[in-house]
């Protein structure tokens, strides 16, 4: 069982609500859900849609071919009816009636029934009812969902609308699934927020920027319960500098933004590194340059964050692969930042940030917060504490100001002595640079090798990173019957883990980087770090995410050339 429903309409028409209702009803039915949102950078009008896919096995990506198309306006019919196949069903109000080339069109009195239910605003709910009937849904599980979503005042009218819709269609598809383990349904941005909460983040400063804002609003919604501060800064420069100040003062601190905001954080990134202040930054990519496509997806900022800021310093970059990975890696990022006293950048993107996926609940039992702060033995010493003490492993014992007896803590952005004072000495400079860079070498040992998917010792190897993980995994599933194919999917991306890359067998005939950008940024990094060149590349840069099917098709194209 693997179904795909698209609901589309103009912004402000309630597309989001219809999607939310469907997602939750599906989740409560116990099926696996993968729901992807495509929206424009406007508040009313335009064309937005959700593709809600559900199945009886875990789903890793959206799909483009539809089983059901719910069109809340004529544009949706026009734009999406080409995604219908012979077995599909189109549901739309009869006023949009037109010719479609494939599938069964149900031109229903949605608007009329909505008015009958109480208000024309429930047109979408009527459509949901019609869809539920198509799948012969268990109604008992529907009401609680409706109740949780709608305020009492409007629950009744929506209930009526749903029921009216239910009468408009006949069962057509067959749901097949076994009751499964309890699941959570979560977006990448929520998972990042939750991972940060688990890690004990207590100070978040940020500036709104699509598609990263979800992280901030998620954390802001937990301010009271978690007992933390989430503050909107005047700009991204303030956001990162505030987070650094908070971290220096002893809090676990975080900020998030998208590429444009990250531009303004670049100097602060260097400040975190130079002052050796732990910091976690989530960069949720959208297509650039600059304003670009504010609400769409791309993996175009890897090269940028790799070397952002002047001079040289250690940093860790983790590309988030799916919501589950996002949770655990965000948690890990805080520990790594503390352990190495460095900035850690989490690279997400709009696709990952916004899609909903059902996954098993996170396991909190294995998580331990490791602050790596120096203890009393350091601050009770009689000598003056030295923030930047040269040590064997390049990590100076870290104390928190006002929490270390009569010691004081001096942090400095100039090149500095072990005490943190400005210096101009050549030898101190060399020692401090070595001390900083030494931790990059340690990081190289800490990094996790990419996920390995598909066959062992395959002839065709796909290389991917971040949110392409799911689609690539699905592509491999589609391809592995016919081809000797596998994939390496990078999460830790800088320093680049190169063991598996270097272990690739000589029988590899095609090495294909699969990326959501125009230049192949992972491929460039691999050339630089491992001297390995990809033979082919699959690049998408129109702002739309790759699905498993898309990748599979493109791989076949490449092979057949």
């Amino acid at each position: 069982m693997d179904f795909n429903i698209l609901v589309g309409g103009a912004a402000g028409q309630g597309v989001d609500t219809v999607a939310k209702v469907l997602e939750l009803i599906l989740k409560k039915q116990g099926v696996e859900v993968f729901s992807h949102k495509d929206y424009m950078s406007r508040v009313r009008g335009g064309h937005n849609f959700h593709q809600i896919r559900f199945a009886d096995r875990p789903l890793y990506s959206h799909r483009e071919d539809l089983d059901v198309l719910i069109a809340l306006d004529a544009t949706t019919v026009k734009v999406h009816s080409s995604q219908l196949s012979a077995q599909s069903v189109l549901i739309a109000d009869e006023s949009y009636r037109t010719e479609i080339s494939a599938g069964k069109a149900l031109w229903l009195p949605l608007k009329e029934k909505a008015v009958e239910a109480g208000t024309k605003l429930t047109e979408g709910t009527v459509a949901v009812g019609a869809v539920l009937r198509l799948f012969d849904f268990d109604f008992a599980k529907v009401w609680p969902v409706l109740q949780s979503l709608f305020k009492v005042e409007i629950f009744e009218v929506n209930r009526r609308a749903l029921e009216l819709g239910y009468t408009l269609t006949e069962p057509q598809f067959k749901l097949e699934f076994t009751e499964s383990q309890p699941k959570i349904m979560v977006t990448g941005n929520q998972a990042i927020g939750l991972g940060a909460l688990a890690a004990g983040v207590s100070f978040y400063s940020g500036y709104p920027m699509t598609p990263s804002t979800g992280i901030m609003s998620y954390l802001a919604s937990k301010m009271e319960e978690a007992g933390i501060v989430v503050e909107q800064a005047e700009d991204e420069i303030a956001a990162i500098n505030m987070a650094i100040g908070a971290s220096y003062a002893g809090a676990r601190a975080m900020t998030a933004t998208s590429g444009g905001g990250f531009c303004l954080m670049v100097e602060g990134l260097g400040l975190a590194a130079m002052t050796e202040t732990p910091l976690v930054i989530a960069e949720i990519q959208r297509p650039g340059p600059v304003t670009g496509f504010p609400t769409r997806t791309e993996q175009g900022d890897l090269a940028f964050v790799l070397t952002a800021s002047q001079g040289e310093f250690p940093r860790m970059i983790i590309a988030l692969r799916d919501p589950e990975d996002a949770f655990y890696q965000t948690f890990r990022a805080f520990n790594l930042a503390d352990k190495f006293q460095i900035p850690v950048i989490l690279l997400g993107d709009q696709y990952l940030g916004d899609y909903y996926q059902t996954i098993p609940p996170f396991d909190f039992s294995g998580l331990t917060i490791e602050r790596a702060l120096a203890g009393e033995e350091v601050w009770k010493q009689t000598e003056h504490y030295q923030r930047y003490k040269l040590t064997e492993n390049g990590i100076s014992p870290r104390l928190v100001p006002g929490r270390c007896g009569t010691q004081v803590v001096l942090a400095d952005s100039d090149e500095h002595t072990e005490d943190g004072h400005i210096t101009e000495a050549a030898d101190v400079r060399v020692a401090m640079t070595n001390k900083r860079m030494q931790r990059l070498e340690q990081l190289r040992e800490e990094v996790q090798e990419p996920w390995v998917v598909g066959q062992t010792d395959p002839e065709i190897v796909l290389l991917a990173w971040g949110s392409s993980a799911g689609p690539v995994r699905e592509a491999i599933e589609l391809l592995e019957e016919d081809y000797s194919i596998g994939a390496l999917i990078f999460g830790d991306i800088y320093p680049l883990p190169t063991k598996l890359l270097k272990d690739l067998k000589p029988n590899v005939t095609m090495l294909i980087n699969v990326e959501q950008n125009a230049t192949g940024q992972l491929a460039a990094l691999i050339r630089q770090e491992a001297l390995i060149a990809c033979t082919h590349s699959i690049l998408r840069y129109d702002g739309r995410p790759m699905s498993g099917q898309y990748i599979s098709d493109r791989v076949k194209e490449v092979i057949s050339k």
């Binding site: 207590s202 937990k222 501060v229 005047e234 100040g245 809090a251 929490r403």
Partner: protein, 289 residues
């Protein structure tokens, strides 16, 4: 020992001072040490934050906690540190370029936040560390190495700007009135909320217009009768700049500080002491089920 000597002892840094002989910054350094001593503060209770510039070197020359950050960016880390640990006395020392130029946006918006910090601007009306370009407070028409045809931009009035942005404590000091300055500092540090002192500080190397003499001839202390609680009057008073330059507290008002708004943290320990286990976040996951 005098207070000054005692304070020197308590707050003495072992770093060599790189300022020019005769620089007004020395008077500010002495004043802040004395003020802190007289307020019975201990080095470890203080956090000095600065940006980059001559003024911004101050955290190196005093033994307290210190965060010497980026040019223009002293305020954001300062307020954040204060939010995380309200027990710290947080003081920002930075230049006029740092504060009103590169850092102008943080200046305005941190006034809005009204976090309980003191902000001491060493206003020498010039970019000194970079060798003498116009700062936002340099007079119109003043010639420098870059303003070769005279400064084209009219100067800011920091007092006016702070008042207009809603600051709860606004003052001007002068390095030549040491006792007065020490008192201002003590008031500013004790003020609950954001407190600004714009300190007229002669730069002997690069500002040959606004010299010690120039200031000394013009400044006068606001009289005792001056009502520091009247905003309209403060705005009027702030307009005075030229033949006579008032120093002292222009305006002071007690209003809720940033932490007063954080009601949900009221009964909790400071964020720096927050106790937290990963499991404490599990409840948030339940909402996603």
């Amino acid at each position: 020992m005098t207070t000054e000597e005692q304070s020197q002892k308590l707050f003495d840094s072992d770093d060599e001072i790189a300022w020019c002989p005769g620089c007004g910054n020395f008077a500010i350094l002495t004043a802040i040490k004395t003020a802190l001593f007289e307020l019975n503060k201990r080095p470890e209770e203080i956090l000095m934050v600065s940006g980059i510039g001559q003024a911004a070197k101050l955290p190196h020359y005093i033994r307290t906690n210190g965060f010497n950050g980026l040019h223009g960016r002293a305020l954001p880390p300062a307020v954040a540190a204060k939010i995380v640990n309200p027990e710290l006395t947080v003081i920002v020392h930075s230049g006029d370029g740092d504060t009103y130029g590169e850092g102008g946006n943080h200046f305005i918006h941190n006034i809005r936040r009204n976090v309980d910090i003191a902000h001491f601007v060493h206003d020498n009306q010039i970019y000194a560390l970079t060798k003498g370009q116009a700062s936002p407070t340099t007079a119109l028409g003043q010639v420098t190495g870059i303003q070769t045809k005279g400064n084209l931009d009219q100067p800011l009035n920091p007092i006016m700007l702070a008042l207009a942005a809603g600051a709860s404590f606004v003052a001007r000091g002068f390095t030549g009135h040491q006792e007065h300055l020490i008192n201002l500092m003590k008031e500013a540090i004790s003020h609950p909320g954001y407190a600004l002192i714009d300190i007229l500080q002669p730069c002997v190397s690069f500002n040959k217009v606004n010299t010690h003499r120039w200031y000394a001839d013009r400044v006068y202390e606001l009289p005792k009768e001056y009502d520091t609680g009247n905003l309209s009057q403060a705005l009027e008073q702030a307009l005075e700049w030229g033949e006579k330059i008032p120093i002292g507290i222009f305006y002071r008002e007690e209003k809720p500080t940033f932490s007063d708004h954080l009601v949900w943290l009221a009964d909790r320990p400071p964020l720096v002491d927050r106790v937290w286990e990963p499991r404490d976040a599990e409840k948030f996951m339940k909402e996603l089920e």
